[in-house]
């Protein structure tokens, strides 16, 4: 069995993953039992996860950061995403906010942490990043992914709540959730936050692509098409108040669609990030001097 490339990172991610799974179990139990359950244990676990991730981020910045910037590898990207998501969870756990959302956020967090753990052990490869646009592109990709994930999580919550309301049974479960209107507003807010970040990411991506002197067919690569698709989806979503056809459940489905496209895009673009941007080809000369 091969050892992890960086043992502290792997151990930290393992601990955070286990903690997230424990928190998921607590959140599920809180949902299923009719009596009010204390959130204290969940809050504490989220704070512990936050502390572990902040420590890991700091450790990796100190140890690995060089000209490549904040996101040294895919593991760092996942760490950044997980830290932001945990921060959001801790924010929502405050009593006057929406503690029930942890039921939907925690599984996503646990998934990312497990992904990061596996990536840190078995598929760890540093990114081959050279220029400033690559660095900006990577950071905006991950930050934009965070917004996309948040929108999708709220979208799933919306569908869950709408289904429960249509079921017209007792509200013991729903009492812990925000209202449907509040959830739709948060889908919109996530889209509004994510859209400009995605736009910067796409623009920097196009600049990187352009530096490679691509031909016409290169502009139609799956990566670019998928990126454009996400951008369009989120462009539609930020116009929700003006496009009634995309309100309600359709907004929820759009947000989930955005996440699915994003996951495919990550899968498609990861090898390229690891390989790095090939040097620009010299222009073909048209005749001699």
């Amino acid at each position: 069995m091969t050892l992890p490339k960086d043992i502290p990172t792997t151990l930290g991610l393992a601990a955070a993953s286990l903690a997230a799974l424990a928190a998921c179990a607590l959140a599920a139990r809180r949902l299923l039992r009719p009596a009010m359950q204390s959130l204290r244990a969940e809050r504490l676990i989220c704070i512990v996860i936050m502390a572990i991730l902040l420590f890991l981020l700091t450790y990796r910045i100190v140890r690995f950061t060089d000209a490549k910037g904040l996101v040294h590898s895919h593991v760092d990207g996942i760490l950044l995403l997980a830290t932001l998501l945990t921060g959001l969870l801790v924010y929502f756990h405050a009593p006057t906010r929406m503690p029930a959302v942890s039921l939907f956020f925690l599984p996503v967090l646990a998934f990312w942490l497990l992904w990061g753990f596996c990536a840190s052990w078995w598929s760890y490869e540093p990114f081959n990043i050279v220029g400033i646009w690559e660095k900006v592109h990577l950071v905006t990709v991950y930050l934009g992914s965070m917004a996309v994930a948040a929108a999708a999580i709220f979208g799933i919550m919306y569908l869950f709540l709408a289904a429960r309301l249509r079921k017209k049974r007792n509200f013991a479960t729903l009492d812990r959730f925000p209202s449907l209107e509040a959830v739709e507003r948060r889908i919109l807010r996530s889209a509004i936050i994510g859209f400009p970040i995605l736009t910067i990411g796409i623009i920097t991506g196009l600049l990187i692509q352009n530096a490679q002197r691509p031909n016409a067919a290169d502009w139609l690569s799956p990566k670019i098409l998928l990126a454009a698709a996400i951008w369009l989806v989120y462009g539609l979503m930020i116009h929700l108040p003006f496009l009634p056809i995309f309100r309600g459940r359709r907004a929820a489905f759009l947000s989930i669609l955005g996440l699915v496209i994003l996951l495919v895009l990550h899968r498609v673009s990861l090898p390229a990030a690891i390989q790095g941007v090939p040097p620009a080809q010299p222009p073909v000369s048209r005749g001699g001097a």
Binding site: P34, L165, K168, R169, A172, G248
Partner: protein, 469 residues
């Protein structure tokens, strides 16, 4: 101290009698003052709500008043025949009274199982008594514990969860659908009693605008006046439906008045903003297929009543867990009250005996100062006798004066507390010398005052072996 609870509730008395015994806040204070003027040593809290009036009383053991005396006074004050009053009043004493209070505070004795309002009412009753210093060292911790237990039931069980009326369930649906109500418009179609009842619940949400549409404009205006709403033209309903985020419908129409086709246009004009429809008419005012439209949440009477039934069942299923918690809390409370009472009693007893012992010690010291060494032993014996006589004087005098039954209880208590049973048995097996008479005791000094009236005849066990530990 003994705790007494005397009262009536919706379970024992009809509303006509309950309202005659109900007390307002001012009357409660007057009644507490009047009863404490009659019996100054009592502690008293009066709980009076629309469904119950209860008197919680703490008094020294075997002293006035008892339940019958209070009943007599209530019959006199409220001019209700005593037999009728005794038929509807219940009374509990001791731990049963404590348990009853805890059940009341927890909402287990309420008309609506698990309702929360009673906890606030119990708190107000206690605070009213506290303001008159009528809740003392017995009722003060009792009511504090009852309030804590009531709160505990609501945090540890689901006894208070779920709404139990159609109107409140409809409001709950609205809360789950909408975040803010200040920018929402509520439309009532129909101006009958059911609409008014449901509107009363929704008015608590303070929606931005309330519209009332009814075939009869006068009735619409009348209902609108009661809720600061706006009466609108019934025949322009389509326009009002576009503006409405919440619709309460209860007309007397024999067929649906809103079709799916009409409402689809309404949704389009509303730009797919969500809308809640509460259709409590029978037959229904909205076509059932409207519920399938996107952004529409349609609830009819059956849906709401099903939720009420679910909630009632859920509360009932929590009753056993609540009773377990109550039993535990009652035992803790009673134990705490007993130890407080015993602690105070022991302190008082100790002070009394120490005062007595100090007085006798000072007298003995004065006499010893002028005595010869040969007289010391006699004087010390006399001092010991005097001390024992003085300590036993009150208890033995009380024992002699008590009624037969009571003196038997007191005698048993003395035997138990001084472990005289074992000594009596020992004496029976081995009869001791006849008790010493006064003539056998050394003659006291002539300057010493006579002992204070206590007979020196001691009981057979008084000079037995020391009590074993």
């Amino acid at each position: 101290m003994e705790i007494l609870c005397l009262g009536l509730s919706h379970q024992t008395a009809p509303v006509e009698l309950r309202e005659r015994l109900a007390l307002s806040s001012a009357q409660t204070l007057e009644r507490i003052a009047a009863l404490r003027a009659l019996w100054p040593g009592i502690e008293l809290v009066i709980l009076s709500t629309c469904n119950r009036t209860e008197y919680y009383l703490a008094r020294p053991l075997d002293q006035e008043p008892d339940a019958q005396m209070i009943l007599d006074h209530l019959a006199q004050w409220h001019t209700i025949p005593r037999p009728e009053l005794s038929r509807i009043l219940y009374h509990h004493t001791g731990q049963a009274a404590v348990e009853h209070l805890f059940n009341v505070a927890g909402g287990l004795d309420s008309m609506v199982l698990g309702e929360y309002q009673i906890l606030g009412q119990v708190r107000e009753a206690y605070q009213a008594a506290h303001s008159l210093e009528a809740a003392g060292r017995c009722l003060h911790p009792l009511f504090q514990s009852a309030l804590a237990a009531g709160k505990k039931l609501r945090t540890e069980t689901a006894i208070g969860e779920g709404r139990l009326s159609v109107g409140s369930v409809a409001v709950e649906f609205a809360r789950h659908l909408f975040d803010r109500m200040e920018d929402k418009t509520l439309l009532c179609i129909g101006a009958g009693k059911m609409t008014e009842l449901t509107l009363r619940h929704f008015a608590e949400l303070k929606p931005g605008k309330i519209l009332i549409a009814n075939r009869s404009m006068d009735k619409a205006r009348e209902l609108a006046g009661a809720f600061s709403a706006q009466a609108v033209d019934f025949f322009a309903l389509a326009d009002h439906l576009v503006a409405a985020d919440i619709i309460i419908s209860c007309t007397g129409a024999s067929q649906p008045i809103i079709s799916r086709a009409l409402f689809q246009k309404v949704i389009k004009r509303r730009r797919s903003r969500p809308v809640q429809i509460i259709d409590i008419a029978m037959p229904r005012d909205f076509e059932p297929s409207i519920a399938q439209l996107d952004s529409v949440y349609l609830y009819n009477l059956d849906d709401l009543q099903r939720v009420v039934a679910d909630n009632q069942q859920q509360r009932r299923s929590e009753t056993e867990a609540c009773r377990r918690i109550i039993r535990r809390e009652v035992e803790d409370c009673c134990r705490q009250l007993r130890s407080h009472e015993l602690g105070a009693l022991i302190r008082n007893l100790r002070h009394q005996l120490l005062d007595l012992a100090e007085a006798e010690a000072q007298r003995a010291a004065r006499r010893l100062a002028s005595a010869t060494p040969e007289q010391f032993q006699d004087m010390l014996n006399e001092h010991a006798h005097r001390l024992v006589n003085k300590m036993l004087h009150k208890p033995l005098a009380g024992l002699g004066q008590a009624a037969t039954d009571h003196s038997a209880h007191l005698a048993d208590a003395i035997r138990y507390l001084f472990d005289l049973e074992q000594q009596s048995a020992t004496q029976a097996d081995h009869p001791a010398a006849p008790p010493a008479s006064a003539s056998d005791a050394p003659r006291p000094d002539s300057s010493a005052p006579a002992s204070e009236g206590l007979k020196t005849q001691s009981s057979p066990g008084a000079k037995g072996p020391a009590k074993s530990s």
